[in-house]
């Protein structure tokens, strides 16, 4: 099999930035900022980016290039080599395939909403409807009232699979080169509209700067609030797509003389530009301009999804038919590009694993990935109202990421050894990485990740409460209507079933890793044992 490489450095950086830039930059970040006191959030957020985000990028890029040197393009055997051939680590690496597959399963469905809403915006489907009707349209959409969601979902899966089947340089890189500039262009257009919103014009009750005031007024007392720090660390973590295994996979296709330090910095800061500059200037100024701060705080309690899909399409209608269509196309278009550049990154490790270990052709592996995403994603589409989508998001899209990132940074800094790790990060670097990062990666980043993990164990929405379905039982104890109780029982069943399905997928991937390992041993591959 000939070694596949990136076509250009700009293409690689855009693809990496596209991997990081997702729907969360525009929906989760503003919601988190609002829920954590606006201006109170920014300082902890930027500090966490420097102490946890950038170090994790250095670690994952370096591990990926290191793995690529030995022909490995997915985390099980990358981690196996980094650990010096210790068997257990390749099973930790299962997370790097499992997470991508499970997240792609529901993420592609989410991505298809944005595509459908681009179509709805351009075709004037929201024209003449009041806010309740536009909100109801979204409820009907996810309840599968028509065949439209299924059509757009299949279309999205086909598009992802087709691009992946064309390979890195001919598929993923081209998509990133088209998608990222358009995303930024659409973002700039909407940000200008958002911040220049005038009180009393187009039905706005506050100026766009009202939302900016709320977001950017510093509240230094927040520095002592542990919950704000936890939320900021969580946001930095999810926005960079670290802990997934996709960065290692992309970096494994680097040439060995390629830099990782500058590339990681460039992709990381580009993501921050999209999140902090564009992400903060669209949803908050526009929604606060029409609804006021109090109402927006209330609406973002369950995240930014409702505001993005239920409210914004209605608010755009206040700008007149042409501008509403343009704004709708730009908003859902940028969400679509943010989504697809991320879902393509999720497909690559799965394809890399099948190609490396079982000798599959890229096209076949891509279509198998598409098929698996369809099968695994079907429960999130058909049983959305029973919380299956949220379960996937919680276990695969949140918990797995934190666990994997925590273990990989311990592996890289402590098992691989910090001197080796530092040599790997700085090898052929096009920038001088500040030496303080050697100590941050070894001591600070693991501690932050352990604290984030421990913080996510406890509390009402914590892992332990989730395992015992505390929220469902509490709702059942309060419910008096037999219909409601029956629905909650159904939800309980689907939630548990989806968890077992995810466990089964994890075990199946672990079994495939075991098979691959046996095959390697049969074929006489030698584990990389370092002498240091």
């Amino acid at each position: 099999m000939s070694k596949e490489n990136w076509g250009s450095r700009v293409g690689l950086v855009l693809a990496m930035a596209g991997n990081a830039v997702g729907l969360g930059n525009f929906l989760r970040f503003p919601a988190q900022a609002i829920q954590n006191g606006g201006g109170a959030f920014i300082i902890p957020y930027l500090v966490c980016f420097l102490l946890m985000g950038l170090p994790l990028l250095f670690v994952e890029w370096s591990m990926g290039r290191y793995g690529g040197r030995y022909g490995d393009h997915s985390t099980p055997f990358i981690l196996h080599n980094v650990s010096g051939g210790r068997s257990l680590w390749k099973y930790v690496g299962v997370f790097g395939i499992f997470t991508n597959l499970a997240v792609a399963a529901y993420y592609c469905y989410l991505e298809s909403w944005t595509l459908a809403y681009v179509w709805r915006s351009v075709s004037g489907a929201f024209t003449g409807y009041d806010s309740a009707a536009v909100s109801q349209m979204f409820t009907d959409y996810v309840s599968l009232g028509t065949s439209e969601p299924i059509i757009f979902w299949i279309l999205c899966l086909l598009l992802n699979t087709w691009i992946l089947s064309r390979g890195l340089a001919g598929g993923v890189e081209v998509a990133a080169k088209v998608g990222m500039p358009l995303l930024i262009l659409f973002g700039i257009f909407l940000a200008i509209r958002g911040v220049t919103l005038k009180e009393g014009v187009d039905g706005a009750i506050y100026p766009g700067t009202e939302g900016l005031n709320f977001l950017w007024t510093p509240q230094f007392d927040s520095i002592w609030n542990f919950k704000v720090w936890l939320a900021a660390a969580g946001q930095v973590f999810f926005t960079l797509s670290v802990g997934m295994g996709s960065i290692q996979c992309y970096a494994s296709y680097l040439r060995q003389r390629d830099d990782v330090a500058l590339n990681a910095m460039s992709a990381g800061w580009m993501n921050e530009f999209v999140e902090v500059v564009l992400g903060a200037s669209i949803l908050i100024p526009i929604s606060v301009g029409y609804l006021g701060v109090e109402r927006v705080i209330e609406m973002t309690q369950t995240g930014g999804l409702g505001l993005g899909f239920r409210t914004l399409p209605y608010l755009f209608q206040q700008w007149g038919p042409i501008l509403a269509a343009l704004a709708g196309m730009a908003w859902f278009g940028l969400l679509f590009f943010a989504g697809i550049t991320s879902s393509l990154a999720m497909g690559t490790p799965v394809i890399g694993f099948l190609r490396d270990e079982f000798g599959w052709k890229r096209e076949h592996a891509a279509w198998v990935f598409g098929g698996l995403t369809l099968l695994l994603g079907a429960p999130t589409v058909f049983f959305f109202q029973y919380g299956v989508f949220d379960e996937y998001d919680y276990w695969a899209g949140s918990v797995s990421l934190v666990v994997f990132a925590m273990l990989e940074v311990i592996l890289f800094a402590w098992v691989f050894g910090m001197d080796n790790a530092w040599a790997e990060i700085t090898r052929h670097a096009d920038i001088r990485v500040p030496k303080v990062y050697k100590y941050i990666i070894k001591y600070v980043t693991p501690v932050i990740l352990i604290v984030v993990f421990l913080g996510s164990l406890f509390g009402d929405g914590g892992i332990l409460a989730k395992i015992v379905n505390k929220d469902i039982y509490e709702a059942m104890s309060k419910a008096t209507d037999p219909m409601e109780i029956a629905e909650l029982k159904k939800k309980h069943l689907f939630v548990n079933a989806s968890r077992w399905l995810l466990v089964a997928v994890f075990v199946l991937i672990a079994y495939m890793v075991w098979l691959a390992d046996r095959k390697r041993k049969r074929e006489g591959y030698i584990p990389i044992i370092r002498n240091d």
């Binding site: 490995d72 830099d259 902090v276 591959y525």
Partner: protein, 47 residues
């Protein structure tokens, strides 16, 4: 807009824009790696 909010916004946005632009410019400016690639050194495939 409140002065304190404006200063924080300009500072945070300024840092992020400057860093993103600077590192991307460095990427654009730096050429491809040398033709002689360590890939050709036939690293053994680990397992």
């Amino acid at each position: 807009m409140k002065t304190s909010a404006l200063i924080t916004m300009l500072l945070a946005n300024g840092i992020v824009i400057a860093m993103a632009a600077y590192f991307f410019w460095r990427v654009l400016r730096s050429g491809p790696p040398d033709e002689v690639d360590e890939d050709k050194a036939n690293f053994p495939r680990g397992g």
